[in-house]
């Protein structure tokens, strides 16, 4: 069997991670800011006070700068499955492509069409109609996230599809179980609400900047108040859903949860400590030092006091028989493809749950062909494959911790900010304003760590327990990969430079610029709005 070089697989993974993480620097703001704009505009429509319209337009402008790159980098994602993960697309596309296509049809179209009206339609639509448009943009961008996370949940917990020997791929068989799987639900809510947190911090931080400089006070205190309340509720929701996801991983992705918590040996409840910091060593399979809080781990993960959490050594042991069974499955499958013999199909069906583990052994099989392993080498191949079922523990362990620590910090910051804002004592507490301003990038960082936890924790699979990552990649030469990587690196650096330049410029300029450049048409509608 032809085998893609490890280097190309690693470069493909690196490129996907780079483009996905980059894309997601812009997505959280879009998810949250749209609903915040809607909230501001709602207040404008209800109270009729012009300041809220100014708020919606000012933050809308910053949103626009962010939205453009979000769309542009999202394009890359839609095509990268095809350009770099051809085997994955063939194997899982029947199910995975559907939510992606629905995302285009249902959400992306809506968001992109109405975003034009949102920016250009202020003078052409009634107040109520424009508000409705803003809500549609907000709903559209979040529905977009919904379908993407449904697809992503399918990679982590493949439901609603089964492998078919005649088509050699996963066949889609249940729309409802894909859309309503607990994994899809909690992933979506967790991610969407994390976007609310990011947007709250963005608005709160820039408002704090104005308050610190004593500029645009009217707009800044209102935006600050709104963002602080938006943020405190959202950060509670993010933490709740994070807990739900952890419990889900415990049930469905034991290797991920073991790596997240750095558990090498199955736990003995209830004493087991929750490790705050450790130095996991993937080579020697131990933690070099550990600081933990006793009695926390078991109730945290299992929501009980007596359930054990499987350790990575035990998971490796359990994988042994599955690898053997998987090798039998693949051998039978290959024979079935050549002869169409019913006996081969029956043999395959008996072992098909373990097929993915057979694929995993490819890397260690002689000639990289699992279907022709000599009997005397089988034990060695299985033994060599066993450690492959684990993700990179160090990365998963620490990215999870950074995410959790940051999340806790946001909760505290928003709580204090809400309290002080409600008491109108912001200006007296300059340290809080400074903290809010410097915290602007942190929620985005936290979502990135969240993605690293979820997706690095899914390794070595692209379709969990079904298809290994190293088999999913396209068969490119290293030269191709260097070409595309260099291009992406160059383009994306230009983007981020342009975005930051404009963001800082417009944030510094502040909201007043609108009034100075208003056209007669603008002034006219402003007078009308005032009279109404």
């Amino acid at each position: 069997m032809d085998f893609i070089s490890n280097q190309v697989v690693e470069l493909s993974r690196f490129q996907f991670a780079l483009t996905a993480l980059y894309h997601f620097m812009f997505v959280p703001l879009t998810l949250g800011l749209t609903f915040m704009l809607a909230a501001m505009e709602t207040v404008y429509v209800v109270t009729g006070r012009r300041i809220y319209r100014d708020m919606a337009q000012f933050w809308g402008k910053l949103f626009g700068i962010n939205f453009a790159i979000g769309v542009a980098t999202g394009l890359t994602m839609e095509f990268e499955f095809g350009t770099n993960w051809s085997m994955y697309s063939h194997f899982f596309g029947d199910m995975f492509g559907t939510p992606l296509a629905i995302e285009g049809l249902m959400a992306f179209f809506m968001e992109s069409t109405f975003v034009g009206l949102m920016f250009f339609g202020w003078d052409r639509l009634s107040k109520q109609a424009h508000l409705a448009i803003t809500y549609l943009v907000a709903l559209g961008s979040n529905l977009s996230a919904l379908w993407i996370l449904i697809a992503n949940a399918g990679m982590n917990v493949p439901e609603g599809a089964h492998f078919d020997a005649d088509t050699m791929r996963m066949q889609f068989d249940s729309f409802v179980s894909v859309v309503f799987s607990p994994e899809s639900q909690s992933k979506f809510v967790h991610t969407s609400v994390a976007g609310y947190v990011a947007a709250s911090m963005f608005v709160m931080g820039i408002s704090a900047f104005y308050l610190l400089r004593g500029q645009h006070r009217e707009l800044a205190v209102r935006s600050f108040r709104m963002a602080a309340i938006f943020g405190i509720i959202s950060s509670v929701a993010v933490i709740t859903l994070g807990d739900v996801l952890g419990r889900m991983d415990y049930e469905r992705q034991p290797t991920k949860i073991a790596a997240i918590e750095g558990i090498w040996h199955t736990t003995k409840p209830p004493f087991e400590p929750w490790i705050i910091a450790a130095l996991p060593d993937d080579e020697k399979q131990v933690n070099h030092f550990e600081i933990g809080i006793p009695y926390v781990l078991t109730p945290l993960i299992t929501h009980s006091f007596n359930q054990p959490v499987l350790g990575m050594h035990e998971l490796e042991d359990q994988a042994g028989p599955r690898i053997r069974s998987g090798i039998i499955a693949l051998t039978a499958l290959r024979h079935y493809g050549e002869t169409h013999d019913k006996a081969d199909l029956d043999l395959f069906n008996a072992h098909q749950d373990d097929m993915g583990f057979g694929f995993l052994a490819t890397r260690h099989a002689p000639n990289q062909d699992v279907t022709t392993i000599p009997a005397e080498q089988l034990d060695t191949v299985v033994k060599q494959t066993q450690p492959d079922i684990l993700p990179n523990v160090f990365v998963v362990f620490w990215s999870f911790r950074f995410m959790v620590f940051l999340g806790t910090y946001f909760f505290a910051l928003f709580a204090i900010a809400s309290l002080l804002s409600l008491k109108n004592r912001l200006e007296a507490n300059r340290w809080l304003l400074k903290a809010a301003m410097w915290s602007i990038p942190l929620p985005i960082l936290a979502t990135e760590f969240g993605w690293i936890t979820a997706e690095a924790g899914r390794q070595p699979w692209t379709v969990f327990n079904k298809l290994p990552t190293f088999l999913s990649a396209s068969n490119h030469s290293t030269g191709y990969m260097i070409f595309s990587l260099a291009g992406f690196a160059l383009l994306y650096s230009v983007f981020i430079a342009a975005e930051l330049y404009l963001m800082f410029r417009f944030a510094r300029l502040g909201p007043d610029e609108h009034g100075a450049h208003a056209t007669p048409e603008h002034l006219f509608s402003a007078i009308q709005g005032g009279n109404a």
Binding site: F35, M36, A38, A39, M40, T42, V43, V46, T47, R49, Y52, N142, V176, V179, F180, P182, Q185, S186, F188, V189, S192, V193, Y196, V221, R222, R225, M226, A227, A228, I229, F230, I233, S234, A237, L241, V244, S421, L422, N424
Partner: protein, 65 residues
Amino acid sequence: MKLLRLAGLALALVIALLFAVFVGDQGPWYFAWVVGTVMIVLISGAGTILLDAQEENISQKENTP
């Protein structure tokens, strides 16, 4: 016209109710997201309106010592 509007409203309510029942049953977290988002938007909006009221209060106090 008024009747038509009422009928439209009733229809929207029925659809909302059916949606709530179905999604609440099949996807409790989706339902929580819908309700939660509306709640967040309304509460944060109310927060700023409260600010307007607070400021008015202060300026009234300053004007009438």
